[in-house]
């Protein structure tokens, strides 16, 4: 293809690429297979895999359907990062790494069925746990009332409703091995209904989602890998802010709320986090005394005596942070 004027496709540079695929089947276990093919500027990784399967090795298994970032089926790990194969162009990867090799593996966390195909049952059960549909009021169902949603509420909810169930965030999440943590996708989806004024399952959703929210470690993996820019960790933060809706309060919620309040109070009153005070307030005096053993064992006891000064213009900080406590 030639380069031309406006509206003409970009000049097509062709490059040979070596694709290393982590293969698996139940009989042979894992092995690495290597394939060589020529790609151009426009070749997405789904096309790379399709050509390997059609032209080189029909035994390779992978999933892909829409080829346009909508169906969420081509999730895999490419050059170590969880991504949608259809939204990843081969040449871009080569330019990023500076070498001619691309490494393709199945997603982490999910059990591999064959090659790049993983069993997503765990993901779906997490999503179904949060009842991912609106449960409206009886009057609305009977046609006696209307659904109303303010534009500002829609703005809050919108992005958290954009999930395509690809599972990339769950595959990257370090907190997921905690069985009581729902995982990033379900937290985002759940928040989308918890914070929806038209929904009626508030109490049930609050209990499930708020307990789970305090099990997130704020590592931002989900934010980084999400192909729809949903930022699930932000849904977790917003869910934590709704903790007062969960009356029973499990242990993680009790401790978490106390700790976050201690942080906010310290900032509002001194402009800084006074560690020893936040620790004592957050965990209680008896825990703080127990943990003193570890503090002293690490040789960091000397820093207990360091007295940090408050912000001088504390009135300004109070004015800014006042609303947070």
């Amino acid at each position: 293809m030639e380069a031309g004027g406006k509206g003409v496709l970009k000049m097509v540079e062709q490059r040979e690429v070596k694709v290393r695929v982590k293969r698996f089947d139940t009989e042979k276990g894992n092995w690495w297979a290597e394939y060589k093919l020529v790609v151009d500027w426009y070749t997405p990784m789904t096309e790379v895999l399709r050509r390997i399967k059609v032209e080189i090795d029909p035994t390779l298994s992978y999933r892909a359907a829409c080829h346009m970032g909508v169906c969420g089926s081509c999730s895999m790990k490419i050059n170590g990062k969880p991504r949608l194969a259809c939204k990843t162009r081969a040449i871009e990867l080569l330019n990023q790494t500076g070498d001619e090799e691309i490494v393709v593996e199945p997603m982490d966390y999910f059990p591999t069925v064959k090659d790049l195909v993983v069993d997503m049952s765990d993901f779906y059960s997490r999503m179904f746990k949060v009842k991912p549909r609106l449960h409206p009021a009886r009057e609305v169902m009977e046609g006696k009332a209307e659904h109303r949603l303010k534009p500002e509420d829609q703005r809050t909810l919108w992005k958290f409703g954009q999930c395509i169930w690809c599972g990339l965030c769950v595959s990257a999440c370090p907190a997921i091995e905690d069985q009581d943590f729902l995982g990033p996708a379900a937290q985002a989806k759940g928040f989308r209904f918890l914070a929806d004024p038209r929904d009626t399952l508030t109490e049930e959703r609050a209990k499930l989602l708020i307990d789970s929210a305090w099990r997130c470690t704020y590592c931002y993996q989900c934010f980084e890998v999400c192909p729809r820019d949903i930022e699930p960790v932000e849904a977790v933060k917003k869910t934590r802010a709704m903790s007062s809706l969960y009356k029973g309060r499990s242990e993680v919620v009790r401790v978490g709320v106390r700790h976050s309040e201690a942080v906010a109070e310290s900032i509002a009153s001194t402009g800084k986090i006074m560690e020893a005070l936040v620790y004592t307030k957050g965990y209680g005096a008896s825990q703080a005394v127990k943990d003193m053993i570890f503090l002293l064992a690490s040789g960091r006891g000397k820093y207990l005596l360091v007295k940090e000064t408050s912000v001088k213009n504390i009135e300004e900080v109070k004015k800014i942070v006042g609303g947070a406590t």
Binding site: Y218, Y220, Q221, I267, V306, E308, V311, V321, A324
Partner: protein, 290 residues
């Protein structure tokens, strides 16, 4: 070169040794650190959950002070402080509704952020502004024979949208800095995994388990020590390591130190001058490096 210096609460608290080492290394390199006048906390990674407007506003308070001091770059040794400031910069620019609320919260204060000052990590400034050559020129005592795990954690890397210095799935800044000291960088598969510190405030056991996995990963890859870029990772991987050992009944230790402490050692400072964690000193002694 003169830059604004934002230590943050942990760096002035239980991770005070990071403040000491950062200043010593900067001085040798001719990097003048001017502390941000009357700085406040960045929110510690938690304030945004309670009140995002307050969170962004207090971060802009620091950045606007930097602008008033006539500088554009605010360097911090702490990844969480970095993350908070950069998140605030980005969302203030991108989200017009949030910006409106922040502006209204800041009305009547001296805070007026023009969007010129930006936060950067000490690691970025060392690599981008100082450069490997100038670092190398100051190495008086190469840390030969020392295998150092290159740990990044989360907040210096993710999300790229806020941070953007390097690709989060293939970072190399820590390896580069470790190599400059003459030590051997050890890349391990948990290098960008979470240290678990943010979970200590709600779900402690999992927080300790995440720390254990990181430490175990570096140990398994053959590291003698681990170098990291964050004041809160410092608390987790040094101070809390004793609790991790107790909880998981570990017979081994993997001492961790801040990257500026490692660089300082190669510049010829003694472990005491840099206040390096005591476990680190023991390893250095066993290698004949202290």
């Amino acid at each position: 070169m003169k830059v604004a210096y934002y230590p943050g609460c942990a760096t002035h608290g239980f991770a005070r040794d990071i403040d000491v080492a950062t200043k010593k290394v900067a001085e040798v390199l001719g990097l003048e650190l001017v502390e941000v006048e009357d700085w406040n906390c960045c929110g510690g990674g938690f304030l945004d959950e309670k009140d995002e407007v307050a969170f962004v506003s207090i971060n802009l308070r620091n950045l606007s002070t930097v602008e008033r001091m006539g500088m554009k770059k605010m360097v911090t040794p702490c990844s969480v402080c970095l993350h908070s400031a950069r998140k605030s910069e980005v969302v203030y620019k991108e989200d017009k509704y949030l910006r409106r609320e922040v502006d209204s919260r800041l009305r009547g204060t001296q805070v007026s952020y023009k969007g010129e000052a930006t936060a950067e990590h000490l690691v970025w400034v060392l690599l981008r502004d100082v450069g490997l050559e100038r670092l190398k020129a100051q190495v008086k005592k190469p840390l030969k024979g020392l295998r150092v795990g290159a740990y990044y954690g989360c907040q210096m890397l993710r999300p790229q949208k806020y941070l953007g210095f390097e690709e989060p799935s293939r970072p190399k800044s820590m390896e580069q800095l470790i190599a400059v000291t003459g030590a051997t960088p050890v890349t391990f598969s948990q290098a960008t995994s979470c240290c678990g510190f943010p979970l200590l405030g709600s779900n402690e056991y999992m927080g300790l388990k995440l720390a254990y996995k990181v430490l175990e990963g570096a140990k398994h890859a053959g590291a003698d020590l681990m170098a990291h870029p964050c004041s809160l990772c410092h608390l987790q991987l040094d101070m809390t390591q004793e609790k991790v050992r107790y909880t998981f009944k570990l017979q081994w230790r993997l001492p961790a130190l801040y990257i500026a402490q490692l660089i300082g050692l190669s510049f010829g400072f003694s472990p005491d001058e840099l206040q390096v964690p005591k476990g680190v000193t023991e390893v250095l002694e066993s290698k004949g490096l202290a």
